[in-house]
Symmetry: C2
Subunit: 388 residues, 2 copies
């Protein structure tokens, strides 16, 4: 039977990098393409112990239907964590999701009519672009100049084009690894607030800080729930759990609740109970410090290799945290066309063009340094240099 | 900040029975209102062992990002289970979801444009109505007469109104507990197929059979992927896991994949691995048989109590499986208005009106027999009779 789909299906594409990742995951390829954490750092035994404890306590409610907003003690714990980042909130401002990707989807579902405008960093996280596109959003880039976000152009853009929502990842952004300054954070909030445009602050990488100051989230400057903050356990604990959270005003939480009820009822009770056990019985901060040290070493090695192999032919970001470096070759290079050669040479990256909503730069690429080992980084960057 | 939401938000309502369930869950209330399995039957120790084994094998990939369609060995296992029900399929026809509710949501996202028509049983599962409504669907009832589904009226309805999709739960349906005959199943498929309308076959209760024959799923008669089958572990294993699956044609699976990528990337890797361990190392059929025996006893007690207390004033369904009995009082009764008295008398039900897309019957109610204990059922039905 040939199906007649809804109009929005025309805007849903399988991730362009999915096929690429399949090739890149072959064992002989050194892959800088994925966005995966280092699996050897997952706290397997602590998570095992957490599940064993909550399933061994003789309380069957850990396997029963749960509330749509999430397990209260976990929301309280997350609320306390948010306080430590300067975000004033209580448990009723926290809403549990299946990873922050579901937070994005529910927010898009609540806000985006077909042809509504989303204002975002360009390049941006591909998964966010996909989600907004599936609700038939249009896009425009947050204007920038040499100094960063161009506040005059931003205000003009908002005034003229009335975006429905602003999406950004201010800290160690995917794909570029760059971070907005405090001034830029305050500027975005001030202008968005003036025109009543909510800001989605996506913060999957904030904990992965290697040097430079810990900058306060935009939500910490927000006084009227203008900012919807998205957090996740995918980078600090493990992505295979699928657990994230939204911080938002209570009226929006009520809407998220109605949306999630129809979407999947609630997030796994057992997962929330086990994660709560982990957070309250193990030293999560110590574990994050271990991740930080390991990823910092990998970042440093990648930067050193880039310096040694690419100094005369490319420029790149020097992120103070996160999982990605953004490399830009001279304009005549096309990283989409170069990719088959790279794969043939057993090294993979993601062409930068995939992260732009308007075509964008064809000479850039995203390089992940969290998943490959230090040795793979050394070998892989040399391979890449030889191929290019 | 006051938010301006998308138009679809006007169609999203918090579940009408959510507030009711909060009251009904107070410990002094005997609740026939929920749709919960009996928690004392959850296989806690087997699930504990399954998580311990997959987390204890030293394989960190159980916590890594996974594929959107789901863990292949689990899809293979489910494919084999589907074969045993007469559904010809292979692993590539199986798509894992966060409970069957997410299957419904993804299908609605793929098919429903605003004002598209969904043809469904009336009354129907409230969660399905909510989901379709959130995509701004309109509804029409599958026509019935004294003999069941009215095939002439059904064909006329489809011909005239061109529904986008047909939704039904043919086996031990929520809320009525009724089951479509083989002839009705074939009739629906024949007519739907003739007019190219896909059928969603929602089957959460099929395994909970107490007497009567095991009827083949509609999908087992389907030759051209006309039927999208939804399965779940919520009633046979535990709902707090949040794991379900879709059986569909491969072209639809590809669309589901694109939709789920933007929705939440994939279903928990750990959950899928642990569930696969459970299915391949424990006797799931034996466990389901235990559930069957227990629920059958509760159903029999509820039917006996209804006979003793309601014979002269009401009629009710006598389901051969599932979790619900549908009670209809004389027309002058309004179960919505009577509910506060029932709650004050420490017994709860769900008014039937909530399950109709067009107002429907105000003299009916849904009674759950899987969650209350046999003693509670005896006491509760007597309480209810006294109040009414």
């Amino acid at each position: 039977m040939r199906h007649i789909y809804a109009e929005r299906v025309n805007y849903m594409k399988n991730s362009a990098i999915r096929e690429l990742l399949k090739v890149a995951e072959q064992s002989h390829v050194i892959s800088f393409a994925g966005g995966l954490p280092a699996p050897e750092l997952f706290p397997l035994s602590e998570i095992r112990e957490s599940y064993a404890q909550v399933l061994g306590a003789g309380d069957p409610s850990v396997l029963q239907y749960g509330t749509t907003e999430g397990y209260l003690p976990l929301r309280e714990e997350l609320s306390a964590q948010m306080h430590s980042k300067g975000i004033q909130t209580d448990a009723d401002n926290i809403f549990l999701t299946n990873g922050s990707q579901q937070g994005l989807d529910l927010i898009a579902k609540l806000f985006i009519n077909p042809d509504d405008l989303v204002l975002l960093q360009n390049p941006s996280y591909l998964g966010a672009i996909q989600t907004f596109r599936s609700y038939q959003a249009n896009f425009e880039a947050i204007p920038t100049n040499e100094a960063g976000i161009d506040d005059i152009a931003l205000e003009l853009t908002i005034k003229l084009n009335r975006p429905k929502i602003i999406y950004l990842a201010p800290t160690y952004q995917n794909p570029t690894g760059t971070t907005l300054t405090i001034e830029e954070r305050k500027t975005v909030l001030r202008i968005a607030s003036k025109y009543g445009v909510p800001v989605i602050e996506d913060d999957p990488y904030g904990e992965l800080r290697y040097d430079g100051p810990a900058l306060p989230p935009i939500r910490s400057f927000s006084t009227e729930d203008e900012v919807i903050y998205l957090g996740t356990f995918s980078k600090t604990l493990a992505p295979g759990l699928r657990l994230g959270w939204v911080v938002a005003g209570k009226s929006l939480i009520a809407k998220l609740l109605a949306a999630k009820q129809g979407t999947d009822l609630h997030t796994s009770t057992l997962l929330q109970r086990a994660t709560h056990y982990y957070l309250t019985h193990f030293n999560a901060n110590e574990h994050i410090e271990t991740i930080r040290q390991s990823y910092k070493e990998r970042r440093d090695i990648m930067l050193a290799e880039l310096k040694e192999n690419f100094s005369n032919q490319a420029i790149w970001t020097e992120p103070t945290g996160g999982m990605f470096i953004w490399l830009t070759l001279p304009e005549q290079y096309d990283t989409v066309n170069l990719l088959p050669s790279a794969l043939a040479g057993n090294v993979a990256y993601v062409p930068g063009a995939h992260f732009f909503v308007d075509g964008g730069s064809y000479s850039s690429m995203r390089l992940n340094f969290s998943n490959p080992t230090p040795l793979q980084i050394k070998q892989g960057i040399k391979l890449l240099a030889n191929i290019l």
